[in-house]
């Protein structure tokens, strides 16, 4: 009997889903304690959270809306992790992707003096966004490959540079000129550059499908192609990659470029599918959320999709939770940080729940020397 029990525990310990689920559970419990401390009722808060996230068709649609950029940005970070790189710059890449898409969306018709065909315009807008993200990711990648400048610091610096640049543009040449506008935002993009919604009454748009497709493509690229083999090899052991004849510098640059591309696409999709303009500050926080999503999803594309849906549900439901219990929606950030804490330090979770220690160590990043 004890034999059976043990083997069950072993099986449990080895399942890849156990730690993330327990991490989420533990974080929710701790979050509940904080809510109670702040004078709220945790049960009511979580019911509100659940209703806000899944309680109606509209809630589901909104969760999908939130999930769209999360999936793409999470994929961006996960993709870089696979190549042994840590992209903290998803935020900046996303912001510039959004700015570029918005500019193509509202300015290009005027510039050309003619309306563009719908799909062409949309493609151009999305293309501009991804290109901007790609460039913004490729720069720290190139610097890492060719000068050794560490991507962690460089991507953060690029975030601040992107923030300053968008502030400059949105307060200046790209500012919405309508007389009532006082905030730093672009004009609305043309109808021809907008992604359609999936259902007439709900806001969920084709970007959600695009994100899911992107996840599938990322999986296929990493696991089934020689290019993916090269990226994974560089990520797992760059010395062996060099020995195997892989052009390590080229792969590092491209890994970061594609990572940036995915983040840029996230920004472009938000502009073309949801907001129809870019507004200063909307991108804040996506970078860190994307890191948490990538880690919670164990850098696997399917895991990223699931983690992104969870984070989206929490963000989406948080508003209703705040409405019902007066607990600031910021508590969600605390819970998400706790989730990341427990996912990263799975030894804590394994200790609390008496699970067997894991043998496989997930090596994600390397120190300054690498």
């Amino acid at each position: 009997m004890s034999e059976n029990k043990r083997s069950f525990q072993d099986a449990l310990s080895e399942s890849p889903l156990v730690v993330p689920i327990l991490a989420i559970f533990t974080s929710m419990v701790l979050g509940g304690i904080i809510i109670a401390w702040a004078g709220g009722n945790p049960v009511a808060a979580y019911i509100g959270l659940y209703q806000g996230a899944f309680g109606s068709l509209n809630a589901l649609s909104e969760t999908a809306v939130w999930a769209t950029p999360y999936i793409l940005a999470g994929l961006a970070v996960a993709f870089a992790f696979k190549g042994g790189l840590f992209n903290i710059g998803a935020e900046g890449q996303l912001a510039l992707g959004a700015v570029a898409a918005a500019w193509v969306g509202y300015a290009l018709p005027d510039l050309l003096g003619a309306e563009l065909p719908r799909y062409l315009h949309l493609t151009l807008a999305l293309g501009a966004g991804t290109l901007a993200g790609l460039i913004w990711g490729a720069i720290p990648g190139w610097l890492k490959a060719h000068t050794g400048g560490h991507e962690v610091i460089n991507t953060i610096m690029m975030n601040y540079i992107a923030l300053n640049m968008t502030s400059f543009l949105l307060n200046g040449v790209m500012k919405d000129p309508s007389p009532t506008n006082v905030i730093a935002r672009t004009p609305l993009i043309a109808e021809t550059a907008r992604l359609g919604t999936l259902f007439a009454k709900y806001r969920v748009h084709w970007g959600f499908i695009m994100a899911l497709v992107a996840a599938a493509i990322v999986w296929w690229l990493l696991e089934r192609t020689t290019f993916g083999f090269e990226i994974r090899t560089v990520g797992a052991n760059p010395d062996a990659a060099q020995y195997a004849g892989i052009n390590v510098k080229r792969i590092i640059t491209w890994t970061m470029a594609i990572s940036g591309l995915l983040a840029g696409l996230a920004g472009a999709v938000e502009v073309t599918g949801l907001n129809y303009r870019h507004e200063l500050g909307f991108s804040v926080g996506y970078g860190f959320d994307a890191i948490a999503i990538a880690l919670l999803g164990k850098t696997h594309p399917l895991g990223v999709v699931l983690a992104a849906l969870l984070f989206a549900a929490m963000r989406n439901g948080g508003t209703r939770m705040q409405f019902m219990t007066q607990i600031p929606v910021d508590i969600i950030s605390v819970i998400q940080a706790l989730i990341l804490l427990f996912v990263a330090a799975d030894a804590i979770i394994r200790y609390i729940y008496r699970l067997k220690a894991s043998e496989d160590k997930l090596v994600l990043t390397r120190g300054w020397g690498g």
Binding site: F229, N237, A244
Partner: protein, 536 residues
């Protein structure tokens, strides 16, 4: 003769388990005052585990340790030092960026602390979280240097206390390690494979120091797997195999063949059988090659040689004389500063690894876990590490799992890789099997040149024999082999011609058999060829 002397250290029934391995099984061992007791055994026999237990780096699961007849618990190195045990580790425990004095004083910084005993254990709130202000006292560098000078004069171990350790030759670094133990007033000294990095002459020097020390009452445990040394220095010999003590003997009662048989557990053929070489045309030609090391200092300084098809050119030399950089430059892993390298008529100087590999080069790298394998990848993926992009493993940029699987099963079979399945991470295999994965991958390709760097380092005798046979088989199939090894015995066993490398230069190229082991040792230590009796 030494039987009357008192026992200073005794280990009884030591057992130590690691996950999946019984590293020490009821091991008994004793050391008498002033003797050199050799602990002989293969890599992985459990010698280092036993010594790490005596030095407090591991704790035994079962068994007892007695020092001067008293039972002791050695929980960490501080306890060991307190009981007068010092250890010179195989991989030196020296901080390269520190001076000699800093390295020696580390952990025993206070000059007047007397014997480096453990301070009575008190909870931190009584001790003060920062150990009082002791931690913030100024280091007494000058006084410590003076004391080191005194000790080194006393024992005839010349070192400059103010030199940076990273700049010193390995032989001197080893002296620093010994001084570190003597500074702590050790009277039991454990030397773990100390000659692995030394030339035969440096090893002789070490043996002299060891005898000096024993004459002064220091007792020495000497760990090795080199049979010649055992017979040269031992007072007594204990042989270990697979975690157990399998026998005791003395140099008078045994010979090399007997020791080898005890160590391995079967009769061992110490010499690889090989026919005379039948060299063909030149495959690899290196001319005036110059390469810098990672610190951008010259490591290979104008080296020229050639390797013909069907011969083994062995590059002998003490570790750190430029062999690593030479191999890396030839295989494309490191940029050369100047010179020329031609492989089968192609200029390959400063070409990246892939084109060189495609011309027909195979490389068994020095550091197999760093360069040769991706430890987190499966055996199957590691077996295509160099060919993953070519058909049949890849078609139009997409990996072909069936071809990868077939390739893995075929190579695992024909190279006798012991793995539960092709889809086990390479990191889970033993060192010998990891090396077999590399050998299988590299030798199964269509090659003209094999560069083998330290191909048997750290392996068990069975794997060594296997790899030696494979290398000779490659030679006999008409492949040029460049063998780089710090083990002079390996060079002598496999090479047809021998190039001796010293300080980045090839000081002599001779036919195997032209010089004795001792003469080669002198060349490796930097004696001019003329002095060795070689007319060039």
């Amino acid at each position: 003769m030494s039987a009357e002397k008192r026992i200073v250290l005794q280990a009884k029934g030591i057992t130590k388990r690691f996950p999946g391995v019984l590293a020490n099984n009821k091991v008994n061992f004793d050391l008498r005052e002033g003797e050199i007791h050799v602990l002989l055994g293969e890599n992985g026999a459990g010698k280092s585990t036993l010594m790490n237990i005596l030095y407090g780096l591991y704790q035994q699961d079962e068994g007892e340790i007695f020092i001067d007849g008293q039972p002791v618990r050695i929980q960490d190195p501080t306890d060991a030092i307190h009981h007068g045990v010092g250890m010179v580790h195989q991989h030196f425990m020296l901080v390269p960026v520190f001076t000699v004095a800093e390295n020696i004083m580390l952990g025993a910084e206070r000059l007047h602390q007397g014997s480096q005993g453990r301070e009575p254990e008190r909870p931190w709130w009584k001790r003060g979280f920062f150990n009082g202000l002791q931690n913030l006292e100024r280091l007494e560098r000058k006084q410590v240097s003076a004391r080191i000078r005194a000790i080194s004069r006393q024992y005839g171990l010349e070192v400059d206390p103010d030199a940076i350790v990273g700049d010193l030759p390995v032989g001197v670094q080893q002296r620093v390690e010994i001084l570190k133990a003597l500074y702590r007033q050790a009277n039991i000294l454990i030397l773990d494979e100390p000659t692995a990095v030394l030339t035969p002459q440096e090893a002789e020097d070490l043996f002299r120091i060891m005898r000096d020390l024993t004459a002064r009452g220091v007792s020495i445990i000497f760990i090795t797997h080199k049979l010649k040394e055992v017979l040269a220095v031992a007072d007594r010999i204990t042989v270990m195999r697979a975690g157990e003590v399998v026998g005791h003997t003395t140099p008078q009662e045994s010979d090399e063949q007997q020791l080898a048989a005890m160590m391995v557990g079967r009769e061992v053929i110490l010499q690889v059988e090989k026919a005379d070489a039948n060299p063909g045309e030149v495959v690899l030609e290196v001319n005036d090659l110059r390469v810098n090391d990672s610190r951008d200092l010259p490591a290979v300084d104008g080296v020229s040689f050639s390797v013909r098809a069907g011969e083994v050119l062995g590059v002998a030399g003490v570790q750190g004389n430029g062999q690593t950089e030479l191999a890396e430059a030839v295989t494309g892993l490191r940029k050369a500063v100047g010179g020329a390298i031609r492989l089968a008529g192609h200029d390959i100087l400063n070409k990246p690894p892939r084109p060189i590999t495609e011309i027909g080069m195979a490389h068994i790298p020095e550091d197999r876990q760093r360069h040769g394998l991706v430890l987190s990848y499966t055996v199957a993926d590691n077996l295509i590490l160099c060919d993953y992009y070519k058909p049949p493993f890849s078609q139009r940029g997409v990996l072909q799992n069936q071809a990868i699987d077939e390739n893995a099963r075929r190579l695992i079979e024909s190279y006798d890789v012991r793995t539960p399945s092709p889809y086990v991470p390479a990191g889970k295999l033993s060192g010998g099997n990891q090396q077999k994965v590399i050998v299988a991958r590299e030798l199964s390709r269509n090659i003209k040149l094999l560069v083998a760097s330290q191909p048997t380092r750290g392996l068990d005798v069975g794997s060594i024999e296997y790899i030696h046979k494979e290398i000779i088989a490659m030679r006999d199939r008409g492949i040029a082999v460049l063998l780089i090894s710090a083990e002079l015995d390996e060079i002598l066993a496999l090479s047809d011609r021998i190039a001796v490398m010293y300080r980045g230069q090839i000081v002599a190229v001779v036919n195997n058999g032209q010089l004795t082991r001792e003469q080669l040792g002198l060349l490796m230590a930097g004696s001019p060829p003329a002095e060795v009796g070689l007319s060039l």
